[in-house]
């Protein structure tokens, strides 16, 4: 049978309209011509390029003689497109005289499967995200309930503990001389325990308040240096008991900044008393203040045991305990740093710690300068 001569029409179709890749390569694998579809996909500058500049296998190379030997099998190869994203095509390489013809097609059946798999994966992901959001909303509600309970319980427990504290105080003061020594010791233990319980309840109330979004800040301009001096003095008697020296030096004039004075006092007191709590006898606690372009940074350094890196992250979370022990048997509620962190963040500041085991720790927090303070 005589074959129809459709060569010219076929060539025109291949070069102009066909939605397949069609390239002509010289024997060395250099691209000497390509159809419109290829040019649109890869960019017009592909003529003269070597094959690996445009087409690669999945290992990032391309072996033309190898591909020619497998000319009865389709090869899955990646094409560098002008968008920068590679696109995968099934290639067929044919020797035609001196030159090599390369045809690249899409396998639509396989694409359909891929499309369905992709769709399923996307659907699954979006359903998981829905479930996650739903669980999250439930957790938020549960957390609110927990805070309500915490607040209520702490509030209702505070009164009876206050009574225990007041009466044990009264008995120790008024009846101290008629009590047996042993009984006076028991009373002192009752008093000390109820004092600790009261501070724990106060911290719990603080946490409940802060977590339920009721961190009411009463912002007014205040002098941070004066607050620090005041707090150092207040903590001096605690330090004296352990022969610890608290050093605070500041010669620079610093601007007043907006803050809730009582809450920042709470932060300073927590950091300074903590430093004393975890410092060995006879060491030094150093408080510093620094001004930078946007904020003031206060740091409190101690010569304590230092905090292992693995424990530093959870330090600011409620009820977190570390392996670090206080040096004078002082107790802690495990809530102080969590409260302090919320207060600092509420002011738009940051809090953190640098520490080295065996060398000590430096806790620091920042407070933003009010806009007029910026240099």
């Amino acid at each position: 049978m005589e074959r129809l001569d459709i060569g010219e029409d076929l060539t025109r179709y291949l070069f102009q309209d066909a939605a397949i890749l069609f390239l002509i390569l010289d024997p060395a694998g250099r691209i000497i011509d390509a159809n419109n579809y290829t040019r649109r996909l890869t960019g017009d500058d592909l003529i003269g390029k070597a094959l690996p500049d445009v087409i690669l296998d999945f290992t990032g190379t391309v072996n033309l003689p190898g591909l020619l030997q497998k000319n009865d099998k389709l090869q899955l190869l990646n094409v560098r497109t002008r968008s920068g994203l590679p696109q995968t095509f099934y290639f067929h390489f044919i020797e035609s005289g001196e030159n090599i013809l390369a045809f690249g097609e899409i396998n639509s059946l396989e694409i359909e499967t891929l499309r369905k798999n992709l769709l399923s994966a996307n659907n699954e992901l979006s359903n998981l995200s829905r479930e996650l959001q739903k669980t999250n909303a439930e957790l938020v509600k549960l957390n609110e309930l927990k805070n309500q309970f915490l607040g209520m319980a702490a509030h209702d427990l505070r009164n009876p503990i206050g009574v225990i504290l007041t009466y044990s105080d009264f008995l120790l003061e008024e009846a101290g001389d008629v009590l047996k020594e042993e009984h006076a010791q028991f009373l002192a233990i009752i008093r000390k325990s109820s004092e600790f319980m009261l501070s724990l309840l106060n911290d719990l109330l603080d946490v409940a308040k802060i977590e339920s979004g009721r961190l009411d800040l009463d912002l007014e301009p205040a002098d941070l240096v004066a607050l620090i001096r005041n707090n150092v003095t207040l903590n001096q008697s605690l330090a004296d008991k352990k022969s610890i020296r608290i050093i605070f030096r500041n010669d620079m004039p610093l601007p007043t900044i907006l803050m809730d004075r009582t809450k920042i006092e709470q932060v300073l007191n927590n950091l300074i008393s903590n430093a004393i709590k975890f410092s060995p006898l006879g060491t030094t606690v150093e408080v510093n203040i620094l001004k930078s372009a946007n904020h003031l940074t206060v740091s409190v350094r101690d010569d304590g045991q230092g905090i292992p890196e693995s424990e530093r992250k959870k330090l600011f979370q409620p009820f977190s305990r570390t392996s670090v022990k206080s040096t004078g048997g002082e107790k802690s509620t495990g809530l102080g740093l969590a409260i302090v962190r919320k207060i600092v963040m509420g002011h738009g500041g940051k809090i953190g710690v640098d520490s080295e085991v065996g060398r000590g720790s430096t806790f620091y927090f920042t407070l933003p300068l009010t806009p007029s303070n910026h240099e």
Partner: protein, 214 residues
């Protein structure tokens, strides 16, 4: 114009959706949420209207299936912006299971229906696209819902819907079932007459009215 969604806003949104500009869509929806748009308006007059139009453009070969999938994926992503509001609604103790049938890959309509139940205080369990009947029956057994919703987008999957309805009726003869979805534009809305306790609801608007009626 429907509430906050003017024709202009709708057009900008649709263009962004069709060109795959997810960021633009997120910005627009966040803007509407900040202006306290009702979630009902957002779902019906933006998400549903745009996706119906995307579906129509695809049916008439004006956009490729890839564009349709991209628009769907973007919309699914936008729903997550609304979830914190939807799931915060007070719950009334009623439970609904919503599912797509086997071989149905379009799940957006079903998911929006499930969200409407949540918004109205129900607990909704959404089984995604292409759910085998056995899995659906197992969940019905586990959750013992007050209602089952079945969503169908492609008319060719009508047989799957009938098969699953027969199975559900066999195991849970009393359970109220809602059916709906874009597939019914091509016919089959008489399905409610063939099975007891099955109701056909053509749109999300009808679904909202149905839920509110209690």
């Amino acid at each position: 114009m429907n509430g906050l969604i003017s024709e202009e806003i709708y057009d900008v949104y649709l263009q962004a959706l069709l060109t795959g500009e997810r960021g633009q869509c997120v910005k627009l929806v966040n803007g509407l949420l900040e202006r306290k748009i009702s979630l009902y308006d957002l779902y019906v007059h933006l998400f549903q209207r745009a996706m119906y139009q995307v579906g129509a453009l695809w049916e008439f070969n004006q956009i490729s299936v890839a564009v349709e999938h991209l628009a769907t994926a973007i919309t699914e992503g936008l729903l997550t912006l609304v979830y914190p509001l939807i799931f915060a609604a007070e719950h009334n103790g009623k439970k609904a299971v919503i599912s797509c049938v086997a071989s149905e890959y379009h799940q957006l309509g079903g998911k929006m229906a499930a969200d409407f139940f949540e918004l109205n205080g129900w607990d909704s369990y959404f089984l995604g696209a292409n759910t085998p009947p056995e899995e659906l029956l197992k969940l019905l057994q586990d959750k013992k819902p007050d209602l089952l919703g079945l969503s169908l987008s492609i008319y060719f999957n009508m047989d799957s819907l009938h098969r699953v309805l027969e199975q559900v009726r066999g195991s849970f003869p009393e359970l109220p079932v809602l059916v709906g979805g874009q597939a019914f534009r091509w016919g089959g809305s008489d399905i409610a007459e063939k099975y007891p306790a099955v109701t056909y609801l053509p749109t999300l608007i009808d679904l909202e009215a149905f839920i509110r009626k209690g």
